[in-house]
Amino acid sequence: MNLQTIIDQLQLKVLTQPRDFSSVEVKGGYTSDLLSCVMAGAKSGNLWITLQAHLNIVAVASMLDVAAVIITEDAQPDQATITKADEQGVSLLSTPKASYEICGTLWEMNIR
């Protein structure tokens, strides 16, 4: 499934510069707030669902080439984080929902 469909269905807010999300193919997902676990567990093309919103998520997301980061519970990254994400080509998406709910919905959408 492409990222645009997921953004639309989950009503995610795009925090970084818009790009052609419909051409980004999402292959599964991973959730954790511990960066080293993400480093070990997330695969290229995954969606990463996390409550973390600080600058260091960008380096992790960029290193792993994840499809996008979904920041849950309306945690707000600061401008420096968004700027760095744009520089590194990392898409940051936001939702008021909790990680558990987002993962559940994605699972039901067959993102597995």
Binding site: P18, D20, S23, L34, C37, S44, Q52, D65, E87, G89
Partner: protein
């Protein structure tokens, strides 16, 4: 007929330099991004054919015919007051009214776009208005160019090609490094000074390392393994050292060595830090998502050989070795 020519500068034509990310470099898909990034003035045609309101119809027809264009902006005192297009000619033809001037038949209500807007605005305007070409005005409402869908396509293609060429060139130069420089043993050494507590730049060095390896011709998998190991090692220097340390990458045609050195505090119990889940990180650091006690475990998983030496009060040296499959890095010999 007046001809306005204003050659755009290099800066205007190509915009700011934009870094190509790893993902861009792997699968170039920046069209959407570029449509926000490129400004109308960067892609528009600034060579203009214009008509004056008092110009006789046959003369305008001649301009349109010789230059093969379907519409001519009508300009008075540098301001655009209308546009004269094929539809207007048809209307004049219907009335068999040819001995008249442009102002009689021109369309006065003209849809324009501003030169400082992104091309996505022009694309929207094209879609909404169903027009094939749009006059471009500056902030004072003066006509400065014309834009067609073709101009947009060409502008995007040029920008894409430029991005692609830059990255290709860098890759080409880097990937031939080991072939071009002859020695019995060539090693490329990259050193990064990592500051203690510098979370703001955390991950920058490892991101540079991953990029360097991709440029040197490493496949995505190899670059990723090294990137993850470098990241964990870099964060260890930031989180745990007193004065930071040095992260070093040594690239040889068939092996990669990553290492970190620092001058303290040193690790009292090496066996323990190698256990998954063991961490000495502070609560503050843990809140940021570090301190899972998985850093060294991750490194071990990504590299072929890891050595950790440490003396309390003196410092720590972590060495990570990755062997390179012969076809992955500069082993390519066509």
């Amino acid at each position: 007929m007046s001809q306005q020519t204003r050659q755009p500068t290099e800066q205007e034509k190509f915009g700011r330099h934009r870094p190509v990310t790893d993902r861009d470099a792997q699968e170039i898909n920046r069209v959407e991004e570029l449509s926000y990034d490129l400004k109308i003035r960067e892609v528009m045609t600034s060579k203009l054919y214009t008509a004056a309101p008092d110009m006789p119809l046959p003369k305008v027809l001649e301009i349109m015919r010789t230059n093969r264009i379907s519409g001519v902006p009508v300009v008075q005192d540098r301001k655009m007051i209308g546009i004269f297009s094929i539809e207007d000619i048809v209307r004049a033809l219907e009335k068999n009214d040819f001995a008249t001037t442009v102002s009689q038949y021109m369309t006065r209500d003209v849809v324009t776009v501003a030169e400082y807007e992104s091309i996505v605005k022009a694309i929207q305007t094209f879609t909404e208005s169903r027009l094939g070409r749009l006059p471009v005005v500056n902030k004072d409402g003066e006509l400065v160019g014309m834009i067609t869908k073709g101009d947009i396509t060409r502008g995007i293609l040029i920008a894409l090609q430029r991005d692609y060429k830059e990255e290709e060139l860098r890759r080409y130069r880097a990937s031939h490094l080991f072939e071009d420089i002859i020695s019995d043993r060539t090693t490329l050494v990259l050193r990064y000074n990592i500051k203690a507590g510098d979370f703001t730049h955390g991950g920058n060095a490892s991101s540079h390392i991953k990029r360097a390896l991709l440029r040197l011709g490493a496949d995505a998998q190899l670059a990723r393994r090294c990137g993850i190991a470098a990241y964990e090692a870099e964060m260890n220097l930031i989180i745990h050292t007193l004065n930071g340390g040095i992260l070093k990458l040594e690239v040889e045609p068939h092996k990669i060595t990553l290492s970190t050195t620092d001058d303290g505090p040193g690790i009292p119990d090496i066996e323990r830090v190698l256990q998954p889940g063991y961490s000495t990180a502070t609560d503050k650091v843990r809140e940021m998502g570090f301190g899972a006690g998985m850093g060294l475990v991750n490194i071990k998983r990504c590299v072929d050989k890891m050595e950790l030496e440490s003396t309390v009060g003196k410092g720590t040296k972590l060495t990570m070795r990755i062997s390179v499959p012969s076809e992955s890095l500069n082993g390519k010999r066509e």
